[in-house]
């Protein structure tokens, strides 16, 4: 029986070698991030019909309903305007105090809202896509519950976020009111908290917050809720497993913090 053509043809070998070479070259490059960012306008376009439907459905609502919603929006707007005024005054006070104390060089953090347009398809949504103007790499992303992650890459209109469940991110954390310095790192579907001495082992359910060390994450943002503590015999540190405090899988809006004078 004659051998099939694919067994006699050496081109298979070359194709295989070329493929392995290509994979090794491509693996460390940030091509995936660029691809995801490139697809962001298409995802925006995909959401457009839902937006149109939302706007069109207003035509079919009763006048009373619309007036009530308008009144609620106006009331909420007034409350927020008061808060914005208060914030502006506090910022001005802060600026003047910094000037008096010669602390102008300390970076300040400003928070901005960003619309979530997509998630990575894994169960935990390890990566998120945001619509935000002018975000930059390493900007901090948080939900109303706690820390979500860091901006990995961004263009003028969109940003891609690595959440704290991603193994490439480690967050310096502490227990409020203590001097504990630990590190929370992602394990795909949960967090591991490293470097907690056995004497300072937290109870299950304790919330750990950012310590502020390293300078990347501002201090005091809730990060992880301890789910299990394992004492290992002969080890200085305990093995602590935790869940993220933030639940970003269903959030439509997240907050992005930029440092310094940049404003998206």
């Amino acid at each position: 029986m004659p051998l099939p053509r694919w067994r006699t043809n050496r081109s298979w070998l070359w194709v295989g070698l070329l493929l392995v070479l290509l994979l090794y070259i491509a693996a460390p490059l940030p091509i995936g991030q660029r691809l995801t960012l490139g697809l962001a306008p298409l995802i925006d376009a995909l959401h457009a019909p839902a937006k149109w439907w939302q706007q069109t459905s207003l035509w079919f609502q009763s006048r009373g309903d619309l007036q009530q919603r308008l009144a609620e929006a106006e009331s909420s707007d007034q409350k927020q305007a008061a808060l914005v005024d208060e914030l502006r005054i506090l910022r001005e006070e802060n600026r003047q105090l910094r000037r008096l104390l010669s602390l102008d060089a300390i970076a300040t953090t400003a928070w901005h809202g960003a619309k979530v347009i997509g998630h990575s398809p894994d169960k935990q949504s390890i990566r998120i896509m945001l619509r935000i103007d002018g975000a930059r790499s390493d900007d901090i992303v948080a939900s109303r519950d706690g820390l979500v992650g860091l901006v990995d890459s961004a263009d003028r209109r969109h940003a891609v976020v690595r959440t704290i469940l991603d193994a490439s991110i480690a967050v310096p954390v502490t227990l409020p009111g203590t001097t504990l310095a630990a590190l929370a790192r992602g394990e795909g579907d949960h967090l591991i908290i490293d470097f907690i001495p056995a004497k300072q082992a937290p109870a299950s359910g304790t919330v750990m917050v950012t310590s502020g060390s390293g300078g990347l994450f501002p201090a005091g943002i809730p990060v992880a809720r301890v789910s299990a503590v394992e004492h290992l015999e002969g080890q200085i540190f305990v093995r602590v497993t935790a869940e993220p405090v933030a639940h970003w899988q269903r959030d439509s809006w997240l907050a992005v913090a930029t440092t310094g004078d940049r404003a998206p």
Binding site: L19, L39, L42, I43, H47, G118, H119, P121, R250
Partner: protein, 133 residues
């Protein structure tokens, strides 16, 4: 005509996966399409493999999810077809081999199952189309 259409649908599938993954369980549309095209006719690997390359990069930022298995798939099918004769078992094996990494990369069981079912349906239609062509 068919390959560009499938690759275009794959891009749409990737966009759906990214845009709606927070809302509902959905199959891996693009992997199902590309795998079905290889299962229907193993010679399709020449354009399906770059498609899977883009799929892995866009969805997982890695080239190690399905690309290695998809690269092995046509060779494995050709080998077993030659040794044992053309048949369905080796194709089902390839189907499982290529989709199981989804589970290890954090996709839900429901999404994996939907991907397999969608792939089988597309495979059936593409195989019929190939026979007619």
């Amino acid at each position: 005509m068919i390959p560009p259409l499938i690759l275009l649908l794959c891009i749409a599938g990737i966009v759906c996966n990214l845009g709606f993954s927070g809302l509902a369980v959905q199959p891996d549309w693009s992997l199902a399409l590309l795998l079905a095209s290889v299962l229907a006719h193993r010679g399709n690997w020449i354009w399906a493999l770059p498609g899977v390359f883009v799929h892995d990069l866009a969805l997982q930022w890695s080239v190690w999810m399905c690309v290695p298995f998809m690269a092995l798939a046509p060779a494995l099918m050709a080998l077993i077809d030659f040794q044992a004769g053309p048949g369905l078992p080796q194709r089902f094996f390839v189907l499982l081999m290529t989709t199981i990494p989804l589970l290890f990369w954090g996709w839900g069981f429901g999404a994996w199952l939907l991907t397999i079912l969608l792939c089988m349906a597309i495979w059936y239609f593409m195989a019929r189309h190939h026979v007619w062509a």
